[in-house]
């Protein structure tokens, strides 16, 4: 078989209906020496400036501490990665900024302050600012001289972000918008100089966005919220009382705010998966260290199968997660490049590319945050009673993880978003979903759907993956036929379908990474990675089966139910595989290395 060397542009959401060649995807093992040096510099910074201060940061005695730390990160250029070079930024690729987000992710509250500033705080101006706005704000945001925050959420407007009550009215002289309203849960508010504020102009249906300087006046705020975790991240209610914003500080066009909010969050979502991975690796490292030190029944607890299983599963999820977000990240970078080559302005190209991959971004938000939650939960369990003590590092990991399933769009919202977007694209004809569904139905009707594989490397895994895609297509197709446009009101089914999609995308990414890695280094040197992929495959197939069953039970009866369930069973079938032994090998390797080593 020939491998296609030339990169074919991949469309967002296409993974469900198209086979991708491993040569077409990016794997993190391909990062350059320069990117690795950047990551190391970032790690050095965190070890030097953040790690020794975790407790002090969480005590949050003064907002100045966090402000200074963010500024220090700015001195190293860590805030400038996504800002174009014309505005004193570094204009790095998206995957490079994901690599840095991955490292910063280990930094608890600092990571949140960092990503709020560099992401939702800075990107609206990068992507939607006009020339003057970019010149005025971006250099200072890139250096950390100014810190930014993002004011979208309100007491009565959270997931329903377009329902905010904050109002902007044009002043009598026509030179200012006067903003009035209340915002809530605003990260970095306590020390921010710039506020990206979403408000409705007069009685508009849609939000508009404004760049508001603290110095404009009319801004007051409450004390920081007392929170379950990320206690060192400054989160406040912010009030706008006749805040006068010059008309030239309207971002993009009137009524464009909701689109800005959605697109910016979209970028943040996939980056959140990366930063969750950094945090998860740290939780794993703590787990490994403690499991080796702690002795019960005269032996290190690391020697118990129950503990090994947890360590192996933590490492496996981390491996799968990073395989998927770096793959998607490169797809996005390639897409940006292609749009620019076709003459699209850079900012627009970037936005269009992220929009193109909205499904993958939502998938990664969910998978990344749930990977982290699994890892910190088992880290606490490995620590036993000590895990429950505020003296142990995993207690902080546990508390700080939880927010990730809530912000940047709750995981429910993101699950429904990825299914909703796929269906919408299929309806619009942008994604050839319907023919694919019909083909699967035809194949199943004629008794197809058996696992077909040979002895070659990864042939079996790819065959299972292929069938899991078919299972997802079959279930989605049946659900759409049953509910038609009403599917969006059947949230439980949407969530089931989302879980199938998430498994398919992440499993495929891990399989392709392993295949590519083996082609570079040889199969013998990727044995542990292969164990991870194969044990994950087993779980993915089970999850697809259970999610599919829940969905089918929710809408099918009688013969239809019987036929769908029969096909689902067939399509999620796996061969015998001793995952227990695989996990022991994985755990032994991780224990020997002392941390997540890939």
């Amino acid at each position: 078989m020939q491998t296609v060397e030339q990169k074919e542009l991949i469309k967002g959401g296409e993974f469900l209906i198209k086979d991708v060649n491993s040569a077409q995807i990016f794997i993190q093992e391909e990062f350059t020496e320069e990117q690795a040096m950047m990551a190391q510099a970032c790690l050095d910074f965190l070890n030097k400036e953040i790690e020794p201060r975790l407790e002090e940061i969480d005590q949050a005695k003064s907002p100045e501490l966090m402000r200074n730390l963010v500024k220090k990160a700015g001195e190293l250029g860590l805030l400038a990665t996504a800002v174009p070079a014309e505005y004193e930024g570094l204009g790095m690729s998206f995957n490079t900024s994901m690599l840095l987000a991955d490292y910063v992710g280990m930094a608890h509250s600092f990571a949140v302050a960092f990503s709020a500033h560099t992401g939702i705080g800075t990107l609206p101006i990068v992507y939607y600012g006009n020339e003057e706005q970019k010149r005025k704000y971006l250099p200072k945001l890139a250096s950390g001289e100014w810190i930014s925050c993002y004011c979208l959420t309100e007491p009565d407007s959270g997931s329903d972000a377009n329902s905010g009550k904050t109002r902007a009215t044009l002043s009598a002289e026509g030179k200012h918008y006067i903003i009035n309203g209340q915002k809530m849960w605003i990260t970095n508010a306590g020390f921010a100089d710039i506020f990206i504020v979403f408000a409705k102009i007069d009685d508009d249906k849609n939000l508009s966005a404004f760049i508001v300087e603290k110095g404009f006046g009319g801004i007051t705020m409450n004390e920081p919220e007392k929170k379950l975790g990320i206690k060192g991240s400054d989160t406040r209610q912010v009030f706008f009382n006749d805040c006068h914003v010059p008309v030239e500080n309207l971002l993009s066009e009137r009524g464009n705010g909701f689109k800005i909010a959605v697109n910016i969050l979209n970028i943040g979502r996939i980056k959140l998966a990366a930063s969750c991975n950094g945090a998860a690796k740290k939780a794993l490292e703590h787990s490994v260290r403690y499991a080796k030190e702690r002795k019960q029944f005269n032996t290190a607890i690391a020697n118990f199968g129950a503990i090994k299983e947890k360590i192996a599963k933590q490492a496996t999820l981390i491996f799968v997660n990073e395989s998927a977000y770096y793959r998607a990240g490169q797809n996005i970078d390639d897409c940006i490049e292609a749009f620019i080559a076709n003459g699209m302005p850079e900012a627009e190209a970037k936005l269009k590319a992220f929009e193109q991959f909205a499904i993958e971004c939502a998938i990664m938000k969910v998978f990344g945050s749930e990977t982290l939650d699994y890892c910190v939960d088992e880290a606490v369990q490995i620590f036993g009673g000590m895990g429950y003590s505020a003296e142990a590092p995993v207690e902080r990991c546990y508390r700080d993880s939880r927010i990730n399933r809530i912000f940047e769009g709750t995981n429910e919202i993101n699950r429904m978003l990825c299914v909703g977007t796929i269906v919408k694209r299929a309806m619009k004809g942008e994604l050839n979903l319907m023919p694919a569904i019909m083909e699967v139905q035809k194949e199943l009707m004629s008794g197809g759907g058996d696992l077909r594989f040979d002895n070659s490397f990864m042939s079996y895994e790819k065959a299972v993956l292929k069938n899991l895609k078919k299972a997802t297509l079959m279930t989605a197709g049946a659900a759409v036929q049953k509910f038609t446009t009403n599917l969006q009101n059947e949230q439980e089914v949407m969530l089931n379908l989302a879980d199938m999609l998430i498994q398919v995308y992440t499993l495929e990414s891990a399989i392709l990474r392993l295949e590519k890695l083996a082609s570079i280094r040889g199969q013998a040197s990727v044995a542990i990675q292969a164990d991870m992929v194969r044990s994950f495959l087993l779980e993915a197939a089970d999850t697809v089966y259970i999610s599919g069953k829940n969905a089918i039970n929710a809408f099918a009866e009688g013969e239809m139910h019987k036929a769908l369930m029969g096909s689902l069973r067939k399509l999620s079938r796996t061969e015998a595989y001793n995952a227990k032994e695989a996990r022991r090998r994985i755990a032994d390797f991780i224990l020997e290395q002392g941390k997540y080593p890939f």
Binding site: E33, E34, M37, M38, A41, D44, F45, K48, E75, L76, G77, L78, A80, T81, L90, M92
Partner: protein, 245 residues
């Protein structure tokens, strides 16, 4: 002002060390290499002095091509150019000789390096370089200030410090707190790709020493905690188990 900083390419201090070829050679497999930590301090001070004097800062490493990432890191931290003497360093004399050969042609005003490398910890190279060039060498230097052609140095000595004044040129083996070690910034990293890195071939040197084998320290035994009020038990264990009494 021309400053030279010599850097060693050494395994990260947290690395697990093992040997191959009958314990003759370090097993480099899977090791992460860094700039020698003492060299890092020398480099940090050199960057400051270069900025202060508006001079030129060169870094030098004696090593094979695999050391280039380490050299580029020094460029990212702030060196202006780099020279790699293309040879596997065999001993301190070999390295010092190669450094001196390069230095003779370039007339550096100041040659800085770490007080010792963190792999073999010989601490000899700075002295030998000074000798080979016929200029003074001082180590370990914890403070280095320049005033025109004269430098004020602080040196650590047993139980105290010595302050000295010395005219350029000279060689200094440095240690903390001569400067705070520097993390390269992103711009520096991006610029390091395009800064000149010249590769020169080594001059032949007579081999004076040869390492024949290495031995790892014995593995740490398990630690036993004895409650403070059980002194007798402690004594008993020291006699019977540890056999040190």
């Amino acid at each position: 002002m021309k400053i030279l900083v010599c850097i060693a390419h050494v395994p990260d201090t947290t690395s697990k060390i093992s040997f191959v070829e009958n314990n003759r050679k370090l097993d480099k497999n899977g090791l992460q290499f860094v700039i020698g930590p003492y060299d890092d301090f020398a480099l940090a001070r050199a960057v400051e002095l270069r900025d202060q004097t508006g001079g030129k800062l060169t870094v030098l490493n004696v090593g094979t091509a695999e050391t280039e990432p380490t050299i580029r890191k020094a460029l990212a931290i702030g060196a202006d150019n780099a020279i790699r003497v293309n040879a596997e360093p065999t001993d301190a004399y070999f390295v010092a000789y190669q450094i001196a050969e390069v230095a003779k042609k370039e007339n550096f005003d100041l040659i800085l390096m770490g007080r010792e490398s963190s792999d073999y910890n010989g601490g000899q190279v700075h002295g030998m370089v000074g000798e080979l060039l016929g200029i003074p060498s001082v180590s370990p230097v914890m403070k280095l200030d320049l005033n025109g052609n004269v430098a004020t140095l602080a040196r650590e000595i047993e139980g105290g410090k010595e302050y000295l004044e010395i005219s350029l040129p000279f060689v200094a083996g440095c240690q903390e707190p001569i400067a705070e070690w520097k993390i390269p910034n992103m711009k520096g990293i991006m610029a390091s790709r395009t800064k000149p890195l010249k590769v020169v071939e080594p001059v032949p040197v007579e081999m004076l020493t040869e390492s024949i084998t290495h031995e790892l320290p014995p593995a740490k035994g398990a630690c036993k905690m004895i409650p403070a009020d059980e002194v007798e038990k402690l004594v008993e264990l020291l006699k019977t188990e540890a056999k040190v009494l």
